[in-house]
Amino acid sequence: MRRLLDARTGGLLALALIIALLPLILPNKFYYDVAIKTALNALVCVGLNLLIGYAGQISLGHAGFFALGGYASAVLTARYQWNGFAAMAVGMAGVGLLAFIVARPILRLRGHYLAMATLGLGIIIAIVLNREIPITGGPDGMTVPALRLGEWRLIGTTTWYWISGGVLLIAVWLALNLIDSGVGRALRALHGSEVAAETVGIDTTRYKVLIFVISAVFASLAGSLFAHAERFITPTEAGFMRSIEFVTMVVLGGMASTYGAVVGAAILTVLPQLLTKLHDYEHLAFGAVLILVMIFMPKGLVPTLQNRLRHLVGGQPR
């Protein structure tokens, strides 16, 4: 019973409950669609949060990994008639390998140099996807076949709601376990001070590379699922603005908070749908929201609210 009440299990349970009950109030397919996008964005953010929140490294190129996963699924199933799950696995392995190869040289860099390197990587991926028209369909994108499980074609928004919700739940569980493991402790040390961590014998680069690869694989998986759920993919998915979106979701929700990443993803997926009614003022409003949240809640929504809540019940703020 005590275990049920600790933040981790309790949080997982709450998330599962929300996913299970949400369909009761979703009025139509459009809302399911937004919910699917929320879950898949959250999947990327849970991985990215490990990198940004725990390893203290920034990536402005994760959309590149997301799109690579999506295109691996799209191209292999559409052009080479692969099984969707095999394509997805190959995408994840390929992206993981790419991340591993570039990780060492990239993660030697710090702060803004790291931002530039990941940004550059993402943009190069986007440019390649745009230019290799015979393979990727170019800027107009390509249609993606349905994912098949035996004879069962996985189509329809309700099916994909349960798939993406389930995968998100597993991902959150994995991330939480990782954070509580030895790797997680090493990471937290790393976030404090890299040099200090190194002097006490932590191989910082190894952990950074590991987390970079894990977060890239999460993104790749989300990209594959996205491609099959939407049945369409374009190079915009790899774009700079998309990478920014992911980072913003993590930071807005709260760095070093897995649930924060989920909340951030939910807000920034739903918010543009609300703002679109403002027509021309949409971008203006979106920019203003980003600035204001960062000024007034620099730790992000979830940690800030958690702290306030603790204050209210009289506990010690962390």
Binding site: P105, Y113, I123
Partner: protein, 295 residues
């Protein structure tokens, strides 16, 4: 030869624009270790404000230019005052990521404002001294390119004088080397920070005005210019003024020559490929010093 010269002219002109944007990045970075992702938007404001002042306000070019530079500088000051300072002025300061998101938010916001107030169309400014191209050894140059290159040189000279010879410039330089020490010797580092945003915005605005006759101007022209300028600043070594200039020109030339002699299809990727290679080999840029982290 004429062909090479033509490519080089193109590269130099575009490179000078990157250099001016990169210089803006360097100025702000020096004063605050902030990367201002809204730097490209200063270029937009400079160009678009000049167009608006001329067509809407009926000002002649000669008056519209200083007015637009001033408007851009004011936007820069406002950005520092209302968005950046509240974040880094807080006890404990703000993380790199927080500031990046604030400035990205600012760039989206500024783009939104320009789009709503001045529209989404592209506009052209008249060239300062006519459109008749100049023939140099078989290559043809727009007279406006000379303006861009000339003013870039002037700006570099002026900055050199400012940082080397004036009291305030030296104070800014001191702040960039060691903020705490600068505060201890009585330098108002907040003022330095504010000034760096104003100055850098003015530079961006100027770049936007100079290049508008060549590149045209539009509410979203700043996005790619900002990214390329950032790449140029990193290439030269963050915070290094001469580095920013060298980085900008180098990127411009590399792009033009790659498009000319290899293929124009991947021209846009050239800048980012170069930057990745350089960072892998020399993580602190071409002219950047090595830094150590304090524990």
């Amino acid at each position: 030869m004429a062909e090479f010269l033509q490519f080089a002219f193109s590269g130099l002109t575009v490179g000078a624009i990157y250099a001016l944007v990169a210089l803006g990045f360097a100025l702000i970075y020096n004063a605050s270790h902030v990367i201002n992702f809204a730097q490209g938007e200063f270029v937009t404001i400079g160009g678009m404000a000049t167009v608006a002042l001329m067509t809407g306000g009926g000002l002649p070019l000669l008056l519209a230019i200083p007015a637009a530079v001033m408007i851009t500088a004011l936007v820069g000051l406002a950005l520092e005052k209302f968005a950046v300072e509240p974040a880094i002025g807080r006890p404990g300061g703000a993380s790199v990521v927080t500031i990046i998101i604030i400035t990205i938010g600012a760039s989206i916001f500024i783009r939104g404002v320009v789009q709503v107030t001045l529209g989404k169309d592209f506009h052209r400014l008249p060239a300062f001294s006519g459109e008749a191209p100049i023939d140099i050894l078989g290559a043809r140059l727009q007279p406006q390119s000379l303006w861009v290159l000339g003013v870039t040189l002037l700006v570099v000279a002026a900055l050199w004088w400012f940082f080397g010879r004036t009291r305030f410039g030296k104070a800014m330089l001191a702040t960039s080397h060691n903020r705490l020490a600068a505060q201890l010797v009585g330098i108002d580092t907040r003022l330095v920070l504010l000034a760096s945003f104003g100055l850098s915005a003015a530079l961006g605005g100027l770049a936007g005005i100079l290049t508008a006759p060549i590149t045209l101007t539009k509410y979203d022209i700043g996005i790619m210019l900002g990214l390329k300028g950032f790449a140029a600043a990193i290439l030269g070594g963050l915070g290094s003024g001469p580095g920013a200039i060298v980085g900008g020109i180098a990127l411009g030339l590399a792009e033009a020559l790659a498009a000319g002699y290899i293929s124009s299809a991947y021209k846009d990727a050239v800048a980012f490929i170069i930057i990745l290679v350089v960072l892998f080999v020399r993580p602190s840029g071409l002219l950047g010093g090595r830094s150590t982290e304090r524990v």
